[in-house]
């Protein structure tokens, strides 16, 4: 038995002490049953349409990649608008959007995998897989913004600065990514092994590699895998909380920017991680069913309604602290802070702030989620879509407003509008994310791990 196989199927005695909360809902027989259901379900989606969709996403992703290359060749100061005065542009806000969403999905999926709360185990591996690719998408966005990203890989190790929030942010998000990948592996190894056994040729070899060569599909192996999944799941939760907090610290630790400075940023980002995570998971789960025209079980419907309730709770808290922070900032007339908030409330950023972040992204979804008549699966889906759009704008408002107040004399206010190259990179990152997700949905066992035919 190789070390990898032992990792996949074996385990220490200590590990057997950790029960898995969703253990009763997992069994190899269930997986096999689901596998056949998925195979018959997949036929419903016309392959040609899926191929067109994948090709479009890939083309957009390639365009975005070319824009990144152009940025490096031409120099960012020529093709990016984020340079002088406003050094951090839409690529940084996109990074924040993606990595906070990833942490949110990691935390919400852990409700099922780690804490055994309600129906959340139904989110299954889809949540973990989505967290992995959004985290990766975030890394691509910030990598495109760095002037010399390849040096980072060397010097974060050779000459780390432990007082730098960005150093810790990078280390902790890297750790989160490792935990998430390990979690996905342990959650899906048995099913991947089943697929390897049931397929032949290239597909069999592909799944064998994904399972790291360990094809044990006994119930005992599954139980051990689930325990490992919970262990790394706990690690993932801790890393996600720490990473999101220190991302708040990247902004909140800067005395130079009084609109960012203080404990508000980490608190705000952790809360909005839950909002972002719940919204994306509800939206993607719903879209997955609608697009493949698969019938939704009452359990999955219940899960979506639960996600809607979770969204309502955290959105309400988020709106509350946003209101408090805005009023405190405006009331105090503190130089820099009140000026930055004025830019949002009645300045050049008032459209993204009021229109997208507050009304479209918070008030309308809150209304939909509170109204008994729209407390449906579709209602949750629509609210989630609006929340995701609103949060993308919120990240932009957060990153840009703080920088528009000049720290030196010479300009009344600075201005920033993303350049075409920057916009193309953002679109490319989104498309690449959707491409990876669609591909993953096709080749990986990401479906609900519970019953679909009850």
């Amino acid at each position: 038995m190789t070390i990898l196989q032992r990792l996949g199927t074996g385990g220490s005695r200590l590990l057997s002490l950790i029960p898995h909360p969703a253990m009763g809902k997992w069994s190899v027989a269930r997986f096999k049953e689901l596998r056949h259901a998925t195979l018959s379900g997949a036929k419903e989606l016309a392959p040609s349409r899926l191929d067109v969709w994948l090709a479009l996403l890939l083309a957009m992703g390639v365009l975005g990649f070319l824009a990144i290359v152009v940025g490096f060749l031409q120099g960012h100061e020529k093709v990016f608008n984020a340079e002088l005065g406003v050094p951090w542009g839409i690529l940084i806000s996109t990074y924040v959007f993606f990595v906070v969403s990833a942490s949110g999905m990691c935390l919400i999926s852990s409700l099922g995998h780690v804490f055994g709360v309600g129906r959340f185990h139904l989110l299954g591996r889809r949540a973990v897989f989505l967290a992995i690719i959004t985290l990766f998408a975030g890394f691509v966005a910030i990598g495109a913004e760095l002037e010399r990203p390849w040096r980072m890989l060397i010097y974060v190790g050779l000459s780390p600065n432990l007082s730098s929030a960005i150093w810790w942010m990078g280390a902790l998000y890297g750790l989160e990514l490792i935990f998430l990948i390990a979690e996905l592996f342990f959650l899906s190894r048995v099913e991947i092994a089943i697929r390897s056994r049931e397929s032949s040729g290239l597909a069999a070899w592909f799944y064998r590699v994904l399972a790291l060569g360990s094809l044990d599909t006994s119930e005992e192996a599954l139980r051990k895998n689930m325990r490992f999944a919970r262990l790394v799941g706990i690690g993932g939760v801790l890393a996600a909380i720490a990473a999101t907090s220190i991302l708040g610290g990247v902004f909140g630790l800067l005395g130079a920017k009084s609109s960012w400075y203080g404990p508000y940023m980490p608190i705000y980002l952790i809360l909005s991680a839950f909002v972002s995570g719940a919204a994306i998971l509800a939206l993607v789960t719903l879209l997955n069913y609608r697009l493949t025209r698969m019938e939704m079980s009452s359990e999955v419907k219940g899960l979506l309604i639960d996600l809607g309730r979770l969204l309502l709770l955290f959105l309400g808290i988020l709106l509350f602290i946003l209101v408090v922070n805005t009023i405190v900032g405006l009331y105090g007339n503190i130089p820099g802070k009140s000026e930055a908030l004025m830019l949002l409330v009645s300045g050049p950023l008032s459209l993204p702030f009021w229109g997208l972040e507050v009304v479209l992204g918070m008030l309308v979804p809150l209304f939909i989620l509170l109204n008994p008549r729209t407390q449906t699966v579709s209602g949750v889906g629509l609210a989630s879509l609006l929340v995701v759009i609103g949060l993308f704008a919120a990240r932009y408002d957060l990153v840009i407003a703080g920088q528009l107040v000049p720290v030196v004399g010479g300009a009344e206010t600075l201005s920033y509008i993303p350049s075409y190259t920057e916009a193309l990179i953002v679109a490319g990152v989104f498309a690449f994310c959707a491409f990876l997700y669609t591909l993953g949905e096709r080749v990986l066992p990401l479906g609900e791990s519970g019953s679909r035919h009850d």
Partner: protein, 263 residues
């Protein structure tokens, strides 16, 4: 008292020797004693690492000729576009009713030929106007050093903050973190850059280029350990303040004659 010849000779030699030693050493002893009183050492006697450089600006002397900005760009190879600058000069106008207007036409690079908007600003009557030269404050508690993820920017032992361009990854965190807007990303080297008080000059006993060319002595440079250095003299004789002292960065550029309203 009877003294033998041998003893007399010995005493004579001892007295003479002691006198010579005292004569040669006394200036040094005296100087040491005096300096101990004034707590300092002449700058010339300090090694490169023992220095503790300081900078002072007398705002009332600056006439806005912008020679400093031009000299800095030539000396340090700073890109000539006005928005890239290690040092710059802001022009303030304070109106009768206390409104503050700032303009730094091309960050002061084009010199006095620039036509400044005159007197009336949005209906405000101009009361006084003045120039404020700015540059890196070489903070005692530098936020830029704190935030750099790869330790590319650091504080030299003599207190000057430097950037190792070979290590900089261009994350621009230091630019965002600097409360004084002293940093920028050099479009040619693609790394963060800022004023070093002309480190290559001051470590060879020369003045920073901007200080050297200032025709009115508005910019003053020297060693903070040397009580006779121009910077110590100015701080001793004038009322000075630093920029944004509330942030606790402890800047080492001292301003004399600064007006309320300067950012």
């Amino acid at each position: 008292m009877k003294v033998s010849r041998r003893k007399f000779l010995r005493m004579s030699v001892q007295t003479l020797g002691g006198g010579i030693v005292l004569y040669v050493a006394s200036p040094a002893i005296l100087r040491a004693a005096l300096q101990e009183e004034a707590t300092g050492t002449p700058a010339a006697e300090l090694t490169r690492e023992e220095h503790s450089w300081g900078f002072a600006i007398d705002v009332r002397r600056c006439i806005g000729c912008h020679k400093c900005v031009q000299a800095c760009k030539l000396e340090n190879g700073v890109p000539l576009e006005p928005e890239y600058r290690r040092t710059w000069v802001e022009r303030y106008e304070i109106s009768e009713d206390g409104a503050v207007f700032v303009d730094s036409v091309s960050w002061g690079q084009d010199g006095p030929e620039s036509i400044y908007p005159n007197a009336k600003r949005n209906g405000h009557e101009s009361a006084k106007s003045f120039f404020v030269p700015k540059l890196c404050n070489q903070c005692e508690n530098p936020p830029c050093v704190q935030v750099c993820p790869v330790s590319a920017t650091f504080k030299a032992r003599n207190g000057v903050i430097l950037v190792d361009g070979r290590r900089c990854i261009g994350c621009k965190y230091c630019i965002v973190a600097c409360p004084y807007g002293a940093r920028f990303l050099n479009p040619e080297t693609r790394v963060a850059e800022k004023c070093t008080w002309c480190y290559h000059r001051i470590t060879r006993g020369l003045l920073p280029a901007c200080v050297q060319v200032c025709p009115v002595g508005a910019r003053v440079f020297g060693d903070m350990k040397d009580p006779e250095s121009p910077v110590r003299r100015l701080i001793r004789e004038e009322m000075t303040q630093v920029l944004k002292s509330a942030l606790g960065t402890k800047p080492k550029v001292y301003y004399a004659g600064l007006q309320e309203g300067v950012r």
